[in-house]
Subunit: 110 residues, 4 copies
């Protein structure tokens, strides 16, 4: 049931959701305002959550959602890469890995 | 803040989410198995839920999610239209209206 | 199907979800860090979202979720009331009204 | 950051969400109507989803949500245990393990 791109995808989406939620909390404690990072962490975590849920169902919408998730991850990675905080750098990596897994899944299922 | 297509969209998405959730419950009580209807009701309700949430945030992903929602609504309407039950016919109408509002929003924001 | 406490509840939850999401975005633009407000806005909006979804299903868990939502609204109102920004004051009002509607629903269904 | 009960909890919740979503799909394909199983699979999967999301944030509401999740898991296990299908038996096991992990977490954090 689980092909290789889906297995990788699920693993990367999980790591990405967690990194985004943790970066969200950590950004709220920084001295300087991290508005765009906070916003994109939340969006990306929400997209990961719905992708994980739909990955467990036989949904025809799944590839469409994965494509939106790729965009959310890309935007969150772009933002996190601007900041030196460890949590931002880790989140950027998780987002970039998730973006690649999403794109690989979409490419393999078109 | 609310332009006309967004206002219509939100109204239609709300009605669609509710109709899908009610059709879901009602389908579970039918004598004959309504598998595809139950599945598409759930998916469409879930997509409406995330669209409503993102409609209240300043999200760059919103048009992408609205486009996926349009597809979910279209598939759910196609399925519900096959069945004579009142709840299916009402759900089909709510889904079709939501699909149109989604498509109008996407067209107006490209 | 809709009794009076449920009807009021749904209306207040909708208004509260929207106020929380808007206060979230607005807080991100303030000069000073509004960390606790941002965090509680997100939590409260998420709880409202799941309550709205479950309000449309025949769920035995619904009163339990409404009780958690009451707590989320109370905590978000406590936080928003500390800040003079219009969006915080409006959010506090929406949260307090939602908290009351949640408590009224729980009291009427025990 | 992750204590032992939380680590176990997250693992069990993930397995439970997946089992519920898979049982949901499988039930839709059974000859006989599996209405209550389908309904409780959906509810339990939804509760697991929000618990996973909140487990990654510093949320004061987390124990309350875990308590509701325990109830969702218990009800879903009760229902699935009635059916001989492999997917129902597996889902019942995942739900029961998740219920226990939820209760252990709540007991350890009161």
């Amino acid at each position: 049931m689980m092909d290789a791109t889906l297995e990788t995808l699920v693993e990367k989406v999980r790591a990405c959701q967690k990194a985004c939620n943790m970066c969200f909390d950590a950004c709220l404690k920084e001295d300087h305002m991290m508005a765009e990072c906070i916003r994109s962490d939340r969006e990306c975590a929400d997209m990961c959550g719905i992708v994980l849920d739909f990955s467990q169902r036989e949904s025809k919408l799944f590839p469409d959602l994965v494509a939106v998730c790729a965009r959310a991850c890309g935007m969150c990675a772009d933002e996190c890469e601007k900041h030196d905080h460890d949590h931002c750098q880790e989140c950027a990596k998780a987002c970039r890995a998730c973006e690649e897994a999403c794109n690989a899944y979409v490419a393999a299922h078109n």
